[in-house]
Symmetry: C2
Subunit: 284 residues, 2 copies
């Protein structure tokens, strides 16, 4: 099970997930001015950050919207970045949040667990129910792939629907329990399932609630860093062992802004990753 490998990586390198939500405007001036295509610029930026953070993080999350917004050129950089992560024997999360009916989800599975956009894990949206998720099961079984399904998201409006009362609890808890039940058959030797959940750090109470309610779910936690989540919650969450990767994107990949606009931008990213790892209380 891929989740066992992710747990190993967390043990070795700590629970930081480096988020490569790369925009052209984040690039240092020398790279912006270089006489290469935008696709090559984005990839060079990501490649250098990967090179300098390999031994400081558990995995990389690549947010596809940032690449989609640049069309085919952007998606070429998305593809190259995922390949480079794999070549370096690190794990990738394709942050795509897709969700669609069975026949369409089958196409998304093919798109993101095979071929040019292949990632180890992808994020998916649960609103359409299990048959929007089940087409990924055969990839979890036979191709060592994994999912992170949205449980409680880190944005302010997540309360619009996720906090509605359903059967004496919040909708997000009902969703989280159902997702854990889907993942039961994919629990690995680590005790965690290859179907995990996305739970935002910004709703600290919800994260602890969900953790207390579920047994086998590993979490992808956004909301640290630029989104302002409180790291103290993580120390509480990790008191019996680390069951999550914590993503930071902007704060890591723009760490060089106002400091350094040269080729050492990736060392700034490394420094911030190490700082974050300490901040969330990880010790080898």
């Amino acid at each position: 099970m891929i989740i066992d490998r992710l747990c190993e990586e967390v043990k070795k390198y700590g629970p930081v997930c480096v988020g490569l939500d790369t925009k052209i405007e984040y690039l240092p001036e020398y790279l912006k001015d270089k006489d290469i295509s935008d696709s090559e610029k984005l990839f060079e930026f990501n490649r250098k950050i990967i090179d300098d953070t390999l031994d400081t993080c558990a995995c990389y999350k690549v947010q596809i919207a940032h690449y989609e917004s640049l069309g085919l050129e952007g998606l070429k950089a998305y593809s190259e970045t995922l390949k480079y992560i794999k070549e370096n024997n690190k794990l990738s999360i394709g942050d795509i949040k897709r969700g669609d009916i069975l026949s369409t989800a089958t196409m998304y599975a093919k798109a993101h667990f095979e071929g040019e956009f292949e990632a180890d894990f992808i994020t998916v949206n649960p609103y359409m129910g299990e048959d929007a998720i089940s087409p990924y099961y055969e990839y979890i079984k036979s191709k060592e792939k994994g999912l992170f399904v949205l449980m409680k998201t880190s944005n302010p409006s997540s309360s619009d629907f996720q906090d509605l009362e359903v059967k004496d609890e919040k909708l997000y808890m009902e969703v989280a329990k159902k997702i854990e039940s889907w993942g039961e058959e994919f629990v690995g030797q680590s005790g965690y399932s290859s179907i995990g959940g996305v739970v935002g750090l910004t709703g600290a109470g919800e994260l602890i609630n969900i953790k207390n309610e579920l047994k086998n779910s590993f979490f992808l936690i956004p909301g640290y860093g630029a989104q302002g989540g409180d790291p103290k919650v993580l120390k509480q969450l990790f008191k019996d062992g680390i069951c999550a990767v914590i993503n930071s994107s902007r704060k890591i990949i723009t760490a060089h802004k106002n400091v350094d606009e040269t080729e050492t931008f990736s060392l700034c990213a490394r420094k911030e990753t190490l700082r974050m790892r300490e901040d969330i209380g990880w010790e080898k």
Copy 2:
């Protein structure tokens, strides 16, 4: 408002939405064997179907997963198809069902309302709440764009969460009402909003319930054809005027299978579109 233009198209050509969920296996043999790239094959197939259905449908829905599954080559055909629809002065729906936090949704808006993947409407997922939708508002206002947000989907597992009881009604109704409230400021001269809803035909009762509860919402209705929805429901829905486009994909674009594997496949698609238009009771 773009929704007014869609209403005009429905009046002129009927409410059929031709779904271009194109797969290589759907192509007639002569096209499969042609010495051109997969991207060119997919585009040639779509182009011919568009040419022969222009005066029989309100719009085209292009399901991006089918193109994503073929990587950059596939997405090139997605882009070409959207451009061709625009060149022919027809309306397109990019069926992408994206949904993410504000900063990321801003990137999806840029990706799908500008540049290579530009569509007139896109489909989006409401699970994350309004700030995952609001980045599209400025495009609705200033660039004549529109949204179809998932209200009640057409797949069997849509009941997993969408049918949960919330405040004495089903979650999907709560979601539908909230979506209508987001759309209030985008109501056009037609009386409909440029923020519409996706409601499956397969849950016939739900479609009528939602229609009775909402005032200004125009619907994109999947579930006709291959998914088996009952067209009688549509006659009831349209008793006071047509407030929807009804999508059919496989049944239209594979109409030539077992009949005709030649260049006239697009005429089979035309025939099925006309048959469907009659079946759902449209009269000019």
